[in-house]
Symmetry: C2
Subunit: 135 residues, 2 copies
DNA sequence: CATGTCATGACAATCATTCTCAACAATGAT
DNA sequence: ATCATTGTTGAGAATGATTGTCATGACATG
């Protein structure tokens, strides 16, 4: 009941070759640039379906906009560079333990959690703040 | 340079008496219901200024909408009931250690983090799934 | 009270996301 | 291959939260 269309294939391929989180609008534009015209509504629908199926991860930036990225299946978290978008997937057992301990302590059930790290990677830090030669 | 106006006082008082996270639109309506008319734009401006000043916390729900809540000053996280909105503030030293360890391991600097827990509190779980008398 | 600013609010404008629905196309059967 | 079935697409409208505009209003101080 999930048909394989030109549009879905194109989007899946694009995501496979895109290491960083991208918005639906960006993906739509990237497809257009690549000569693969796919309607914006279709990009939204497809990327959301993929998110529900666990095929992509969703990240919300500060203003609430949703970004998508092809990720390893299964629960994990991210460390993202705020400058270049470089993303590291984190297994983070420590967070899992923390979450379940807190849930227990406060008598909550069905506790989900989100945890994301945003920083500046070595390359970007060097480029911005300068090399090791001092000021 | 921060003048004390009727509107800001009203909003501050309202937040003082509101234990759960609320949207700007909700706060605007609550003020109207209380006979305190405050423009929607003013609510947005004020609540954002308070957030920048660290006087309220911001939480983004699944669809990206921003919710605000008067919280203790300083960095902390939350455990929120998805049914009734009951909120517990968490000191969460475990998360702080995890975040800084990961930052180190991956050679990132200036790493910020977000971590939020959403679950169902005891009262709501009992109401929804039934009491302790079995199925 | 006068006066200088900052603050307010009604409304327009943005902008991401969702909805609508007629035209289309993937799939499976004939 | 042809066809019928039914999920899919896309252009544009609609939604809804948030932001911008700017003339008017109201703190705070002398
Ligand atoms: Zn970087
Ligand atoms: Zn986790
Ligand atoms: Zn509850
Ligand atoms: Zn923390």
């Amino acid at each position: 009941m999930q048909r394989m269309t030109r549009q879905r294939t194109a989007l899946a391929d694009l995501l496979d070759g895109t290491p960083d989180f991208r918005s639906a609008q960006q993906l739509h534009q990237m497809l257009k640039d690549a000569g693969q015209n796919v309607g914006l509504a279709t990009v939204y629908r497809t990327v959301q379906a993929m998110a529900e199926a666990g095929d992509v991860d969703v990240l919300r930036i500060e203003d609430g906009e949703a970004l998508y990225r092809r990720c390893a299946r299964g629960h994990h978290h991210h460390l993202v560079c705020r400058e270049c978008g470089k993303t590291v997937e984190l297994a983070g057992e420590a967070v899992e333990r923390w979450a379940s301990r807190i849930a227990h302590e406060h008598d909550f059930v069905d506790v989900d959690h989100t945890a994301e790290l945003v920083g500046t990677c070595r390359e970007c830090a060097t480029r911005i703040y300068g090399g090791g030669t001092g000021a």
